[in-house]
Symmetry: C2
Subunit: 334 residues, 2 copies
DNA sequence: TTGAAAGCGATACCAT
DNA sequence: ATGGTATCGCTTTCAA
């Protein structure tokens, strides 16, 4: 492997000078610069990011912790982050936390030992205090998908309550009154917020939520399948079901059809997230848009500015969901 | 940041000894080991992976180049690789090549400058020669999704031709004779192979493929939509369509329905890949299973053994696709 | 504008 | 079993 020494020797200049032209952060005469560049080209020199990292105590990498590396939601997130960072020659280290506190902490330690310059975290299980403490440890962090009191300026979140409200309101406005709900895991804050919004919409219509129409799911397709089957076998009547996310909505659709129902005639369904494939299930899914890409980009820009540019950057802390109307909801006459 | 120096001082031992207990690769008395461990705990020591990398000329990271970071197919791949590697405290650096030769080369250079210990590559646009040359550069590589003559033992691929054959045969056995094909980009080898298999199945039935029933798509949902619309407006009759992958199949389904068709009665559809959501489109998609997870794990094991363990490991070079029967194909009587 | 030299935080060889 | 020390490839004062 050719090093900076080889280049300096070949160009007949010092190590320092070679370093300067690499980072072109100091004045170097055009003539020497040309010599150095030529030497690099001749030798096929490639800078060693590891050595650079050690010397500058900057790894030029940012750690990204998300729940899973697969799935349409996280896919968007990773894609947005990697694209933006790599433009700046920074690499992203992705790690999965699997929605489990121990695994999330593990992943954080892993990323920290990698000496990431910053961390972008979408964590679900770890406590607020953990994050507050982590923040004090020196590595800048930005938190996606949570609101933490003592970390406000570094949090980027969607107004989930409002999202849940919009979905329910959409169903209510279409004339539905018996509305079931297949939620994500109840311990997750997102789940709770969306459900709270759902309740608020019902309350606005002087309806109280029938708790027996609430099924706890897992944010996966299978959870939607199981959820709908449970609802069906409960015998309780319902004309619509709101789902905690699109995956479960897709599962619920499949289960409904397996049970012999026609959609949306026999059952109206709304999802949440607006993942790519929600447009390609049948019927096309009405859902709440979660602007993941924008939020991920916001997080990345914060890191870029705050950490690498040393310039302040005000984050847009709360994103607003909007309803995406498609064909999975039937208007019923009252 | 606390370093190995601090630990050695606190424990009253030398640097070397601290290093030994960290890597426990040399004999250290239980007593000193305990002292060192205690000192580490007291100080909250975290090894600096960067420094370790420089000193050992092992970054403990492997570069993974795939076409996109989103999408169900690559999601599975990343997930499988990351899980396996992190068990061994190795991190994966994912980079997107976007199916473009220049961008793929760019990404390779990026990963190389990161001093990855090995590269797992799913590249589509770059030439075979490029990969052969790359392989000579010292960093071990394993290639997914391609067969390269002079790189055979490091290639892991699916028998795409056989997959294309199976899909077409399935349609033929169900009685279909007028079969359209929405392919991926024609310059991609996967596309060509799958199409070749398709043709072989037709030939076995004494049918020749009607070229006007071939539409070039893009492996995305939208490509399936466009593809089906083109087929429809061509006026040519067809009772079934085979798609280059599941995403396009989902798009084709949506387009068919938008055109007023009932599925699978008016049109039978098969996909390719068996991505997670293919089970949740309607009707449930008949498709060809692509064992991505297994293939990714195979690649990872190769790297683990060959690079980190210095023990030989024979790769299973070719995986066999199987047909997954579901409900998107109608049996027609002859 | 350029050079000399002291780190950065580990590893690993050579002694003891 | 333990310690001393050169080394990895680059950055970054400090001088010149």
């Amino acid at each position: 492997m050719v090093t900076i020494y080889d280049v300096s020797e070949r160009a007949g200049v010092s190590l320092a000078t070679v370093s300067r032209v690499m980072n072109n952060n100091a004045r170097v005469s055009d003539k020497t610069k040309a010599k150095v560049l030529q030497a690099m080209a001749d030798l096929g020199y490639r800078p060693n990011a590891i050595a650079k990292g050690l010397a500058s105590s900057r790894s030029n990498s940012v750690g990204v912790l998300i729940s899973e590396l697969h799935g349409p939601f996280y896919g968007m997130m990773m894609s947005a982050i990697e694209t933006e960072l790599r433009k700046h020659d920074i690499h992203s280290i992705f790690a999965a936390g699997h929605s489990d506190a121990a695994k999330e902490e593990d992943a954080v330690n892993f990323l920290l030992s990698r000496r990431c310059d910053a961390l972008i975290l979408y964590v679900e299980a770890v406590s607020d205090e953990f994050l507050v403490e982590l923040n004090k440890r020196g590595t800048p962090i930005v938190v996606l998908g949570r609101d933490i009191k003592n970390l406000q300026p570094q949090c980027i979140n969607l107004d989930n309550e409002q999202g849940g409200y919009l979905a329910a309101k959409y169903l209510l406005d279409a004339g539905h009154r018996d509305i079931a709900y297949i939620s994500g895991p109840l311990w997750k804050v997102d789940t709770q917020d969306r459900l709270a919004g759902h309740r608020r919409a019902l309350a606005e219509h002087q309806l109280t939520f029938d708790e027996s129409l609430l099924i706890e799911g897992d944010f996966q397709e299978e959870g939607g399948v199981d959820g709908l089957n449970k609802l069906l076998s409960s015998g309780r009547p319902f004309t619509a079901v709101a789902c905690g996310n699109d995956e479960m909505a897709a599962g619920a659709m499949a289960a409904a059809r397996d049970a012999g129902m026609t959609l949306p005639d026999d059952l109206s369904i709304v999802g949440f997230d607006n993942v790519a494939y929600s447009r390609f299930v049948y019927p096309k899914l009405c859902t709440v848009n979660y602007p993941v890409r924008e939020m991920a980009e916001m997080a990345t820009h914060w890191v870029l500015r705050q950490v690498y540019d040393h310039t302040r950057f005000e984050i847009e802390n709360t994103f607003t969901p909007v309803m995406v109307e498609r064909n999975s909801v039937l208007r019923v006459q009252k």
